[in-house]
């Protein structure tokens, strides 16, 4: 988390022009365009609140986004090179069960650029890929 804060400090978010800030921040919830995702794992490693997680299954990768951890810090938007993340103007609605706050996406194997020998899961420990 401290490297993330250092990087944000260096960027100087306050010096960004106002229209640029409004485009970056949005007013609602974080949304994913899963068709662009290449499952590189940069966002999972950068996320300071552990809201994103990747799980490797056979021939596909599961990406989950937990709104009960997301703090809307925009680090995932900056770290993603494929432009998957954006902020919509839809508010996050209140829910009855905590499981409803986690969105789960499936990334098919055609989108994955390269699969190494191991990946990163939610707790930043290396997990072996079974495929």
């Amino acid at each position: 988390m401290i490297p993330v804060i250092k990087r944000l400090w260096k960027h100087g978010v306050g010096t960004v022009p106002k229209h640029e800030v409004q485009r970056l921040i949005g007013r609602g919830k974080l949304v994913l365009d899963i068709k662009r995702c290449t499952a590189c794992g940069d966002c999972v490693a950068e996320c300071p609140a552990d809201a994103l997680s990747l799980q490797y299954a056979e021939r596909k990768v599961l990406l989950s986004l937990a709104y009960d951890s997301c703090i809307s810090c925009r680090v995932c938007i900056e770290s993603c090179t494929a432009g998957v993340f954006s902020f919509a103007n839809i508010p996050i609605s209140s829910v009855r069960e905590r499981d409803q706050l986690t969105l789960r996406y499936v990334i098919p194997s055609e989108q994955i650029q390269q699969i190494g020998d191991e990946g990163i899961d939610r707790h930043r420990t290396a997990v072996a890929i079974s495929d």
Binding site: A49, D68, S69, I71, P91, V95, R96, R98
Partner: protein, 151 residues
């Protein structure tokens, strides 16, 4: 927002007579959620026109708004406030920390989400949630009041 404004007065009148009293409990919050709750009282949102009011004691309250992950020092205070509330005890978790630990998570000083201690009626995510989202969460919690058991 307009739908919520239209639904809230009729639902409150049906279930609670005329008014709904809320006790807000800080269980280790960063005060971000408190600012948003305080913004509900300002002229823009004006929550008191629906008959909703914030009270100073859990004994007077129908609903508890809990903000922040439960820290070890404030766990006992939260338990006392919960037991002092009249049934049905409606518990609304406001913010990411109260929903599931949020940024801090479960550490030696922080238990995590409120649902580890007490049953939670409605989760309102966001860091912090907007005042409209809190108002929507209160409405959903009132709609769920008949499901809760009273001893």
């Amino acid at each position: 927002m307009i739908d919520i404004e239209q639904q809230l007065p009729s639902v409150i009148k049906k279930l609670f007579g005329r008014s709904l009293h809320i006790r807000q409990i800080d269980s280790g919050s960063c005060n971000g959620c408190e600012f948003e709750i305080a913004a509900l009282m300002n002229p823009v949102y004006d929550i008191q026109r629906f008959g909703i009011d914030f009270v100073a004691s859990p004994r007077h309250a129908d609903m508890l708004l809990v903000t922040g992950g439960v820290t070890r020092n404030l766990e006992e205070a939260l338990r006392k406030a919960y037991s002092a509330t009249a049934s049905p005890k409606m518990m609304v978790a406001i913010g990411a920390c109260a929903c599931g630990g949020g940024m801090i998570g479960s550490t030696y000083a922080n238990i995590g989400g409120v649902d580890k201690l007490f049953p939670v009626c409605i989760y309102v995510p966001g860091c912090p949630p907007r005042p409209q989202a809190i108002l929507e969460g209160i409405l959903h919690a009132i709609e769920r009041a008949h499901e809760l058991k009273s001893p």
